[in-house]
Amino acid sequence: MASRVLILFAHPALHRSRINAALMEAVQGMEGVTFRDLYEEYPTLHVDVETEQELLLEHDVIVWQHPFYWYSAPALLKEWQDVVLEYGFAYGEGGTRLVGKRVLSALTTGGPEEAYQKTGYNRFTMRELLAPFAQTSFLCGMEYLEPFIIHGVRGLTAEQVQEWAQRYRARIAALVAGD
């Protein structure tokens, strides 16, 4: 059975983006996919909780797509989590509305893959650094999927960027298809 996928995209300076702009373009207009550009929706960081919660209920898979900023997400995605994942809706008493959904982190990092090792200069693995996202999903009863990560994005050639964009599209298509 086909799944409905909601991509929540957070990039505060898209006019400067290379990789995320390409990823965004690749998934635009796909069947079964809702693409939501959070910084465009909420330029003043004032998130409309009701709308966002309704959208969550209408989808089976949620994708958090963003550049990796200071080992985390840009501020608006955090704000989105803070206000949308309410007590009684997403967690806590009666907070079971998201149970059974799946979550994918799709992110791009400036640092190369080697840097995200115990011995690298970032000292932690991506899995470790993404623990808050994984645990957030867990608490809401959602399955946290294997993240989609593109490392060392500055060094990518134009062709490589296109390759990654196609790979991203394929991953999203697979989610829609239900695997």
Partner: protein, 626 residues
């Protein structure tokens, strides 16, 4: 103008000026000051004034105005909530006090109709003294205060049937009274005397209904029309006309004028002109009420007191004692709580101005012989003088004990006209501020001096009051003493500064937040130390600017950031330039130009700064070597 009149005026005013501030400073309250001033200039001491009764008649208009003002502060809904106390406590007070006093009278050997007359008469208390004293203490809106008020209001109503009953009592007593009827019964000629009783009743009811209807539906147009003429004194004239007109009409049909104006006041309490009316009537009320108290003091027959000290003393003690006891028991019976009951008992334990009227009537009807009514008159006047003293005892010795036991009790019933925010100017700018505040549950008292605006907003269900916020008395009437914030949103620079100056001077506790209509206005506000101001076009211009940036292809968030950066610079620059604005013109202009250039460079820098997109080195960045 006769010389005598001027001399009298000088004496009265001088007495007030000398006595009242001294009394107030000594913590005795203004009422006692007036009463004592009256005693001193009266026939018993200095004998400087002639016909006290004449003055008293004029001054009674002060009581009428006072009830008008009280009515203005009482919304119909609150009055409706007080119906229980008015009818219950009020009637119980009259019945039990009258019974108690009548009983004492019988014991003293009076015939029963005479004893009953005395009883009914002394059941009355002094509206003027009680309300003025309680208002001065700010306890009118507490449980105890409202109970007092309810009883006084009931007495005002009860006077009418009592006046009607006296001739009948006189007849039973075998006195010289003619047939009972409106004419004598009301002391003053009622225009309805020749009508049959049912027609009299009908006309009386008709008059009250007319007052309510005219005040409610018709007066607003008159106020609006007059206000639009922008002649300040015309509004005062109309306000006085309303009070005088209603009082006259009530007199005509034999009702208490005070009751009539009170009703008119209550009806107008819902009106947008309320605060302005209050501010206009207030000084006249104060003046006449003062005169009334002086007249009461001057009317005190000290000669009689000196001649029969024992009799008068026992009358006063009996009067105050019986009333105090009845009131205290009623207060406890109606569950006011001990503290409020004591206030209630202290406040109302005196005879009132109606006593003089009723005693006079009794005399005319042959019910009361002078040897009964003269000592009673003196006792009533003395009991009125005692009230402020009793209240002081209550304040200093009694209430402190209860304050500790029941800390918040008194504050419960406060009707919250005491909004924390006053908003001046409810036009295109102010109404947005006002609505935002109301939407978030903050009580706002709104003033605007454009009658059309007030009217128009009223039609959309937004409450505002007509009035000129640059008048201290109006601000006081709007509750400036108790408010915390003052929002000045008027659109005229000069007016705005006038208001700011006034508020800073008269109500320094208010924090001012102001609308600035242009840069210069902003400079003037800064000079006055008002740092919470907003230039009225800046916000919306920046909003539109953001939209334009977006229309030109900026991402929404980027446009917002650009706008915010601009705003910061703009506000900083106004504050910096303010220092030079009042100084040398040339320096100011060169400074201003400098700032404009700076602005450009800020933008150029901003472009270079590339928010969030500096050449990032996240692929090579290792921790710093140490």
């Amino acid at each position: 103008m006769s010389q005598d009149f001027l001399f009298q005026a000088v004496i009265y005013l001088l007495a007030a000026v000398v006595a009242v501030p001294v009394a107030k400073r000594a913590g005795l309250g203004s009422v006692l000051g007036y009463l004592l001033a009256g005693v001193v200039i009266g026939p018993s001491v200095l004998n400087l004034v002639g016909q006290v009764e004449d003055v008293q008649h004029v001054a009674e208009f002060g009581v009428v105005m006072m009830l008008f003002v009280v009515g203005l502060e009482l919304r119909p809904s609150l009055l409706w909530r007080l119906r229980g106390p008015i009818l219950g406590t009020g009637s119980a007070q009259v019945v039990f006090t009258a019974a108690g006093v009548t009983g004492l009278g019988l014991l003293c050997g009076l015939a029963w109709p005479v004893a009953l007359t005395v009883g009914l008469t002394l059941a009355m208390s002094s509206t003027a003294i009680v309300i003025q004293s309680l208002a001065e203490r700010g306890v009118l809106n507490t449980r105890g205060g409202q109970a007092c008020f309810s009883v006084l209001l009931f007495q005002d109503i009860a006077v009418i049937p009592i006046l009607a009953v006296l001739p009948w009592l006189a007849e039973i007593n075998g006195g010289s009274a003619g047939h009972g009827g409106g004419a004598e019964a009301h002391g003053h000629e009622s225009a309805l005397a020749h009508l049959p009783p049912w027609a009299q009743t009908l006309s009386t009811i008709g008059a009250v209904v007319a007052v309510v209807i005219v005040t409610h539906y018709f007066l607003r147009y008159v106020f609006r029309y007059v206000a639009a003429s922008k002649l300040r004194e015309m509004f005062t004239v109309v306000a006085l006309l309303v009070v005088a007109g209603v009082a006259w009409l009530m007199h005509l049909v034999g009702l208490s004028a005070a009751l009539g104006t009170f009703i008119a006041g209550v009806v107008l309490a819902e009106s947008e002109y309320r605060h302005q009316l209050e501010a206009d009537v207030e000084p006249f009320k104060g003046l006449l009420l003062g005169l009334f108290f002086i007249a009461v003091g001057a009317g005190l027959n000290l000669g009689l007191v000196a001649a029969q000290p024992g009799l008068i003393a026992s009358l006063v003690i009996g009067l105050v004692g019986v009333k105090f006891l009845v009131l205290l028991l009623l207060g406890l019976g109606f569950r006011l709580g001990a503290g409020s009951s004591l206030l209630f008992a202290c406040a109302l334990a005196q005879g009132g101005e109606f006593c003089f009227v009723l005693l006079g009537m009794g005399g005319q009807l042959g019910l009361l012989t002078p040897d009964v009514s003269a000592p009673l008159s003196a006792a009533v006047a003395l009991s009125m003088t005692l009230t402020p003293l009793l209240l002081i005892v209550n304040d200093r010795l009694i209430q402190p004990r209860f304050a500790k036991l029941t800390p918040k009790r008194e504050a419960d019933a406060v009707e919250s006209h005491d909004n924390p925010i006053i908003l001046a100017g409810f036009g295109r700018f102010g109404h947005i501020v006002g609505r935002l505040l109301q939407a978030n549950g903050f009580g706002v008292t709104v003033l605007d001096n454009d009658p059309d605006q007030v009217e128009m907003l009223g039609r959309f269900g937004l409450r505002s009051f007509y009035g000129d916020a640059s008048r201290a008395d109006l601000l006081a009437a709007a509750g400036a003493e108790k408010a915390r914030l003052f929002v000045c949103a008027v659109d005229d620079e000069a007016k705005s500064l006038e208001i700011v100056d006034l508020v800073q001077h008269e109500f320094p506790h208010l924090r001012i937040l102001a609308r600035a209509v242009n840069r210069n206005h902003a400079y003037e506000l800064i000079k006055r130390g008002v740092s919470d101001f907003r230039r009225d076009t800046l916000g919306s211009a920046l909003d539109l600017g953001t939209d334009v940036l977006r229309a030109m292809g900026f991402r929404a968030h980027r446009a917002v950031r650009a706008t915010e950066l601009f705003r910061c610079y703009e506000e900083e620059s106004v504050r910096e330039l303010a220092e030079h604005a009042s100084g040398d013109q040339a320096t100011y202009i060169s400074m201003a130009r400098q700032h404009l250039e700076n602005l450009e460079s800020v933008f150029r820098q901003d472009l270079k700064r590339h928010h969030l997109d500096t050449e990032d080195a996240w692929d090579t960045a290792g921790p710093k070597e140490t």
